[in-house]
Amino acid sequence: MSDLILPRRRLIARAGGLALSLPLLSACDAINEAPPMRKILSLGEKMHFASQRALTDRDALAREFTRADISPVFRPNGTRLPAGKAYAAHAARGFADWRVAVTGLVARPLSLSLADIRAMPQRSQITRHDCVEGWSAIGEWTGVPLRHVLAAAGLKDGARYIVFRCADRIGDADYYESCDLVDALHPQTVLAWSLNRRLLPIANGAPLRLRIERQLGYKHAKYLTGIEAVASLDGIGAGKGGYWEDRVDYEWYAGI
């Protein structure tokens, strides 16, 4: 704790002549960054996760709406167009050669085309997308429930998490996300290829994105290229289970 506070004090001393409130503000930020405080601050997420899992039926549905409720504009966020020639080439061909690999702790690894995915049982749902920033938008999604895909691949006993690999990079790393099996097998957890009865726009994650309706928007990985069943999230990215979780310490469990 003291390693964090001391350099700040020195900084403040050097700055000199600053208003009296500055040491107070710096002290607040030093508390925010101190490792013991980070531990305390992660308690909230653990308690919300445990209590929501305890109180909520594992198949309890997120609220579904009617077509009259659909937002006039479904605001995209995060990557709006993945960089690189490979994605541009896929987009130019209408994603005809796009494949999604299902790998990891599965009995039968799969490589699915969009045609394969559309040939599986489909689900349409009009749900509210809640961004961590605070806004919400309602849209109609169509795709294959992830549990059908996982059933086709055959989850092995050791599998505890599903990791979602994406074609978009932000800064120097690929976007990725993960969830536990309760959310992975939830009936509304869908690999969606359609938004509002049209092919998914590029800004919203074409050709395929995850819908994980009981969690916040950053969990809904876009531009899906891979689905991997794993026993542990250690060793994947920085080990916290997602791009934003690794970088800015967003909650891995984003049900709140």
Binding site: A19, V248, I256
Partner: protein, 289 residues
């Protein structure tokens, strides 16, 4: 009545009778004192981290959904040179405080609430959420325990219960006039909560704070699946967010009035009472009248 211990109305202030030892009463029991201070810290952290979360999307809507393309009833934003707050069609320039302000390194920022009002001081939605979602538990657990103690431990019946006569409009009006003229009760009357105090404490403990928790939970997509009726009852997720914001400022308003009242009623005595429990009845110039 303890009026015989009190200087009566005819006694002028320079008479020795005023130096009679003030009556001490045990006013705040331990659960009240503990909850008061835990709550003070918790609410401050929740307010400041809440303002950070608001900064991520400084617009408020009514209904289930709402994003940048939808009409916002409240917005804090920035133009090229100014900051502004807009509520409905009313727009106020707030440069320097809201929407556009200068941080401690002298850099212009266009986040809605300034760094001195948020946790942490630099923009971090992730950290703001960590503080907010953790301290929300402290608020909820402490409030639940305190509500139980208030009801079961007699605090409600003994101190907060509004007696029939106190509901009379004339009585309430009289109390409002006394507050407005800064005439505070002395002697025995100061030992009891007046009607405005009772209503504001009951309002905060049993309405405003539970409303904060309910509207907070209604914003959780996970809890929406647990209890869909809650978000519907509050008029949708974005309505819940708007109510959460309004109720937070009502708590700030309560806090400001509370502080003014403490300062006017005698800050040392009031603070000592909330720390030790023991309150000195102010010897009134007007007796118990």
């Amino acid at each position: 009545m303890a009026a015989r211990d009190m200087p009566n109305a005819s006694a002028s202030s320079d008479q020795p009778v005023n130096r009679i030892q003030p009556t001490r009463i045990y006013r705040h029991r331990l659960p009240t004192r503990l909850w008061h201070w835990v709550n003070a810290v918790t609410l401050l952290v929740l307010l400041m981290s809440g303002l950070m979360i608001f900064n991520a999307h400084p617009r408020l809507y009514w209904g289930q959904a709402g994003a940048n393309h939808d009409p916002a009833w409240l917005e804090i934003g920035a133009t090229r040179e100014t900051g502004f707050l807009r509520v409905g069609s009313l727009r106020v320039e707030t440069t320097g405080v809201l929407g556009r302000w200068t941080d401690r390194r002298g850099v212009q920022q266009t986040w809605a609430f300034p760094g001195w009002a948020t946790i942490p001081t630099r923009y971090s939605l992730a950290d703001g959420r960590r503080w907010h979602l953790t301290f929300a538990w402290l608020l909820a657990i402490a409030l639940t325990l305190y509500m139980l103690w208030t009801v079961l431990g007699g605090h409600l019946a003994k101190d907060l219960h509004v007696r029939r006569g106190e509901w009379a409009p004339r009585h309430i009006w009289q109390d409002i006039r006394d507050h407005a003229r800064l005439r505070f009760p002395a002697g025995e009357a100061a030992a009891r909560y007046n009607i405005l105090q009772k209503l504001s404490y009951i309002g905060v403990i049993f309405l405003l704070l539970p409303l904060m928790i309910a509207t907070g939970l209604a914003m959780s997509p996970g809890f929406n699946a647990t209890a869909p009726w809650l978000v519907d009852l509050l008029g949708g997720r974005q309505s819940a967010r708007s109510i959460h914001f309004i109720a937070a400022w009502l708590l700030v308003l309560f806090f400001l009035v509370h502080i003014v009242m403490v300062l006017l009623a005698g800050p040392v005595n009031e603070l000592r009472a909330m720390v030790t429990g023991w309150f000195r009845l102010p010897p009134g110039k007007e007796g118990d009248a």
